[in-house]
């Protein structure tokens, strides 16, 4: 039996400020996928088979229990609820074989879910993504409080998911709270 227990990036309860609720979402498994040279078609075939579609530029695709979004040319990030086995990267590597390089990324990121009517106004104080124009499933890489983040639109106008560098979770959370307070 495993003697060690994981710890969330920061220990903070969900907070509602005005109409915005900021929640740390712990236990998200992440793995990056990058197509090998000349293997794009083979890689996309696996992505399509597992997810139902290949995420196009700036978009996320929801598969069964897994979400995948585009992160760069011929690169994607897969996410799924962490079940404690830490096998997401291995599963994808098994499926992709030599078609892609897969890297475990679960520990690299902190995930915040921001929901509520005031979310767009708050987001406008945080980063340059055109949040009011984002449709559900849109994804953009951006800077929030000088840290490189992904912003995923989970529900247009109401819910974004922010993936930020885990080591800066405290600073990032502070920035979110500050922005939510400013627009509350």
């Amino acid at each position: 039996m495993l003697e060690l227990t994981p710890k969330p990036a920061i220990d903070t309860p969900d907070q509602t400020i005005g109409t915005v609720t900021i929640a740390l979402t712990d236990g998200v498994a992440l793995a990056s996928v990058a197509a090998r040279k000349g293997q794009l078609a083979a890689c996309e075939k696996v992505l399509s088979a597992r997810l139902g579609a290949v995420p196009p530029v700036g978009r996320a695709v929801d598969g069964t229990g897994e979400t995948c979004f585009w992160t760069g040319p011929e690169q994607w990030m897969v996410s799924a609820p962490e079940d404690g086995q830490h096998v997401l990267a291995d599963q994808w590597k098994d499926a992709l074989g030599d078609a892609a390089s897969v890297t475990e990324q679960s520990g690299g990121w902190v995930v915040f879910d921001v929901r509520g009517a005031g979310m767009p106004a708050m987001c406008e104080l945080l980063c340059s993504v055109p949040v009011r124009r984002m449709e559900t499933g849109d994804v953009q890489r951006t800077m929030i409080h000088q840290t490189g983040c992904f912003v995923i639109c989970r529900e247009a106008g109401r819910h974004i998911r922010i993936l930020g560098p885990r080591a800066s979770a405290q600073s990032l959370h502070h920035a979110l709270i500050t922005a939510a307070t400013a627009v509350a």
């Binding site: 039996m1 495993l2 003697e3 060690l4 227990t5 994981p6 710890k7 969330p8 990036a9 990056s32 990058a34 090998r36 040279k37 000349g38 690169q75 830490h86 030599d98 390089s101 890297t103 475990e104 990324q105 679960s106 520990g107 690299g108 990121w109 406008e124 104080l125 980063c127 340059s128 993504v129 055109p130 009011r132 124009r133 409080h145 000088q146 840290t147 560098p165 885990r166 080591a167 800066s168 979770a169 405290q170 600073s171 990032l172 502070h174 920035a175 500050t178 922005a179 307070t181 400013a182 509350a184």
Partner: protein, 977 residues
């Protein structure tokens, strides 16, 4: 004091009275007032002192172009200097004070400067304060700084908060006058996302200050109705109190929204101002025009202002600056001011230098006349007029409105170095060379009539968005032509002011011409014309016109100076936003941070990382005592250190080994799976870039580590090489620095500690020095183990997914308790690596080669790698090249200072005799004396030589011996144990 100058009408809300103070005196105004309009309503015209001569000044305008009425708002830490009273929105409890005075505003002792004006002309400082040289810093500059200037800073931290934000739209409309409103309406009705920004708190622009009609309603009502219609549309964002300050590249505009400046008490957590970055596909600039004055003697007394300002105060704010007014105009728009004032019951006389104008008006018109002088100590009391027949007449009045014509607001069209075009019909510059995507409408484009503005706004939106089809008919509005005879200044002897904020006169421009500073940019710098906080919005044209006349050129031949952002001054706090104090930059916390805090660690910033520097214990008197304990404990038993901050790059692909062979100067192609190798990266020029390790986890999978400081630059370098230099290689890179918590466990008992944690055999046979591999720990958690050592001890680095980092550190401490395991910080880490002679940032300092570092042989000649060829340059391979050496003091009690230089044991000390320099120094608790690493000319052949270490900065000279840089375990037996 009663509002004795308040008259009927205007858009103020008389049901809401607001109390405020100016220089400690209590006044009242109404909602909708500015500070200037409220003071004028109370009969206060004197609001400030001028920059240089401390002359009494009052508002010259009713807008953001104001040069004179600058005041300090609020008090204490909230004090803000140089705020224009003409734009400061009145609120209950507002506290304002005048600035730049010694004594009271009405009795300013520094007004003595005005008496010395004959000496204080343009260029005065440059000519006068040159001798004696030493006096400048101690005498002249302090005195000048005290005597000249505007407001002062509180020198306290600004308690207000500011935000920065980002907006996106299809069309940004700048200015909400008739042109801007019509442009926004046209665009919004087409479905486009529109942002309409206006610097005023009331949208409507000049319509708020006029009595004219638009369609069958007043201009004010039409503006209010249009704003209401726009406000109801979901695709429109109305941004009053928002100044667009700059037009930048790629359709990006800067804008400052004054969110809380009109509130008495800032709301907790809410920004006072927001600096917006607006991304827009197209822009309509409808920024209007600014009325310009005419220069004449003593044209700066409080009560002298632009004619349109008098009109604004009367029509919009219900204020008569005085019941008797004179209008001095060279164009027909001046008569609109006269008519509006006359209709308000103010007695008006118009002075018009044009001889052929009609005098058949309801008020007095003096055709062919000029205002030649004014009187009044602290405010205007009389104007002296030279009539057409040459005789002079004095008119008693407290308000003089001057109209020299209108200058379109071209500023934002020029922020990308566009030059405006001269328009003879307007006698003004109009926009010409526009930033990409910008369209200009209304008065800003030179269409000064209301009908022209409405049509121009509609047309600009149509053009910007390529809207097809017929547009709705425009409402009828006045369409008066521009009738102007250029007239810039009245000839005479008295001082005629051009730039009232910087105290520049017509005479100063003459002097500039006379002394050869004739180019427009020279004129600006010699006289300081247009260099004040208002950027000469009311001054520049006059200066250009006079220079043109003196030079015998046309005005467009003289040209204009460059308009630069910001359009109006911006608080520095707005640029900083939330990035101040502890939030200046984000922090990166290591996985063991919470645990380290529990241990009482002292942290040090390493970039954004907060690393444990040392772990003091009770009874230890200073940091050195702590560090010595940590070093000895590690060398004698076992220590643990969080090394998560070292950069980690995951390198995969069929060509991963070849890629690393390219990146590192030493060979990697044959590195076996399950092994780690030290690697040195060179820049293209052969200088060392960074060092670290690469661990081969599979044939096609490596993990590269970098120094903490170079994690990002190295990753960037590797991506550059991958994408640009070797695009055909099959290699993929991704940073995993934060994905893994990594701890160094070092010391003779390191293996015993880890054997209790790692599930696999890690004996020396099974897991020898420089081994690596995937393991499991604590009953099955995936981990990575590397047998590498920075300290020189038997050491491992163990990595787990970051979420388990805290638990692993606690588990290591538990497992190591029987060996008295000691956590150590960056200080002890530094001591141990100096003892071992390992290089780090101090040695990889951007000037050193592999040969300097003593690693010249590592640069493989059997392969190509970045920097290898240029590292063989003759200049980098001379006989007396610097070599890494060790340094120890002859007297063990003496310290050796890092940064000091090496000199021969005897003889003079100077730069020409420099032999090398110390890069790293510390006290070695193992050796009992100080040690240092250094670069010394031909150092490898000078072992045992006695030299001097000289530090002119700390005034130290120490006799030292040159030795091997490997002070501890030079054979490497410990780390292979």
């Amino acid at each position: 004091m009663s509002q004795k100058n308040r008259i009927e009408g205007g858009q103020i809300n008389r049901d809401v009275s607001l109390n405020f103070t100016f220089d400690g005196r209590r006044y009242s105004g109404h909602a909708g007032d500015t500070l200037a309009s409220a003071l004028l309503a109370n009969g206060v015209r004197l609001m400030g002192r001028s920059f240089k001569y401390h002359r009494p000044r009052g508002p010259m305008t009713a807008g953001s172009e104001e040069p004179n009425a600058l005041v300090q708002l609020r008090s204490g830490a909230l004090q803000e200097p140089n705020t224009r009273a003409t734009t400061a929105e009145l609120f209950d409890g507002l506290s304002a004070t005048s600035q730049n005075r010694l004594g009271t505003l009405s009795f300013d002792l520094l007004a003595v400067n005005d008496r010395l004006s004959n000496f204080l002309t343009a260029g005065f400082y440059y000519k006068t304060f040159m001798w004696p040289k030493a006096f400048w810093e101690k005498l002249y500059e302090p005195v000048i700084r005290r005597a000249a200037g505007l407001g002062s800073l509180s020198l306290e931290d600004d308690p207000d908060v500011y935000d920065k934000g980002f907006l996106h739209c299809d069309l940004l409309v700048i200015g909400a006058g008739p042109a801007g409103l019509m442009a926004a309406l046209t665009a919004a009705r087409s479905g486009a996302d529109v942002i309409l920004a206006d610097e005023d708190f009331a949208m409507g622009g000049r319509l708020n200050s006029e009595t004219l009609s638009v369609g069958d309603v007043s201009g004010v009502d039409w503006a209010a109705g249009t704003v209401a219609e726009l406000a109801a549309m979901p695709n429109v964002r109305l941004m009053p109190r928002t100044t667009v300050i700059g037009a930048f590249d790629h359709g990006i505009y800067g804008a400052v929204e004054r969110v809380g400046d009109h509130l008495a008490v800032p709301q907790a957590g809410k920004p006072r101002q927001i600096l917006w970055r607006i991304y827009t596909k197209k822009t309509v600039l409808a920024a209007g025009a600014i009325e310009r004055p005419i220069a004449f003697a003593n044209n700066d007394r409080p009560g002298v202002m632009t004619a349109s300002a008098l009109r604004s105060y009367a029509n919009r704010f219900g204020v008569a600056v005085d019941r008797r007014a004179v209008i001095f105009t060279n164009n027909d728009d001046g008569y609109r001011s006269a008519e509006d004032l006359h209709a308000k019951g103010i007695r008006v006389t118009v002075v018009d230098p044009r001889p052929d104008v009609s005098v058949l008006r309801d008020y007095e018109v003096l055709a062919g006349a000029q205002v030649v002088d004014t009187m009044g100590r602290l405010g205007l009391t009389f104007v002296k007029v030279r009539l057409a027949d040459g005789s002079e007449r004095t008119i008693e009045c407290g308000a003089l409105g001057v109209s020299g014509g209108w200058n379109p607001n071209v500023h934002l069209t020029c922020h990308q170095r566009g030059r405006p075009r001269w328009d003879d019909g307007l006698a003004a510059f109009v926009p010409s060379d526009l930033p990409t995507g910008m369209h200009v409408a209304g008065a800003a484009a030179g269409d000064l009539s209301t009908a022209g503005a409405l049509a121009g706004g509609q047309r600009a939106a149509q053009d910007a968005l390529a809207l097809d089809g017929a547009m709705p008919p425009l409402p009828e509005a006045e369409d008066a032509p521009v009738n102007i005879t250029p007239f810039w200044y009245v000839k005479g002897d008295g001082r005629a002011w051009l730039d009232q904020q910087n105290d520049v006169t017509v005479k100063d421009v003459r002097l500039s011409h006379q002394e050869g500073f004739r180019a427009v940019e020279h004129l600006k710098r010699y006289t300081t014309l247009g260099m004040a906080t208002d950027q000469g919005k009311t001054a520049n044209m006059g200066g250009l016109a006079i220079m043109a006349e003196l030079a015998g050129k046309a005005i467009p031949e003289v040209g204009t100076t460059i308009f630069r952002p910001p359009y109006t001054p911006v608080a520095i706090g707005a640029f900083a936003g939330r990035h101040r104090g502890a939030e200046f930059h984000p922090k990166r916390l290591t996985p063991s941070h919470a645990w380290a805090e529990e241990q009482g660690a002292v942290f040090v910033e390493a970039g954004n990382w907060m690393r444990a520097q040392y772990f003091p214990r009770a009874g230890e008197e200073n940091w050195l005592e702590t560090v010595n304990r940590e070093v000895l404990a590690t060398r004698n038993s076992v220590g643990v250190c969080d090394v998560t901050t070292l950069g980690k790059v995951d390198v995969q692909g069929a060509d991963a080994a070849d890629f690393l062979n390219m990146i590192y100067c030493n060979g990697f192609a044959k590195l076996a799976v399950g092994k780690v190798r030290y690697g040195l990266m060179l820049r293209e020029d052969g200088i060392a870039l960074d060092d670290g390790t690469a661990a081969r986890l599979a044939e096609d999978h490596f993990v590269v580590t970098t120094t903490t400081a170079n994690a990002l630059p190295v990753y960037r370098h590797m991506e550059f090489v991958r994408q640009c230099l070797v695009p055909d290689m099959d290699v993929q890179l991704i940073s995993t620095t934060e994905a893994w918590a990594q701890y160094a466990v070092a010391g003779p008992n390191a293996r015993r500690v880890l054997e209790k944690i790692v599930d696999q055999d890690i004996s020396n046979e099974a897991f020898p020095f420089m081994a690596c591999g995937n393991v499991t720990i604590c009953g099955g958690l995936r981990a990575r183990l590397f047998r590498i050592s920075f300290s020189g001890e038997l050491a491992y680095e163990i990595a787990v997914p970051t979420a388990y980092g805290d638990a692993l550190m606690r588990r290591i401490m538990e497992a190591g308790a029987e060996f008295e395991i000691t956590p150590y910080g960056t200080e002890a880490l530094g001591v141990m690596r100096i003892e071992k002679g390992h290089a780090t940032g101090n040695e990889l300092n951007g000037t050193t080669t592999a040969a300097n570092l003593g690693m010249g042989r590592m640069v493989s000649t059997k392969k190509d790698s970045i920097g290898a060829v240029l590292s063989r340059r003759e200049g980098l391979n001379t006989e007396d090249d610097l070599r890494a050496v060790g340094v120890k003091p002859l007297d063990p009690a003496q310290r050796v200072p890092a940064g000091a230089h090496l000199m021969a044991a005897e003889g003079p000390v100077d730069a020409a005799r420099d032999q090398g320099y110390l890069t790293s120094a510390c006290y070695s608790p193992n050796l009992g004396h100080h040690i240092a690493l250094a670069f010394l000319k031909d150092g490898a052949n000078r072992m045992g030589e006695t030299m001097r270490v000289v530090s002119p900065l700390t005034d130290e000279v120490v006799d030292v011996e040159i030795c091997s840089p490997h002070f501890i375990d030079p054979e490497g037996e410990r780390l292979r144990a």
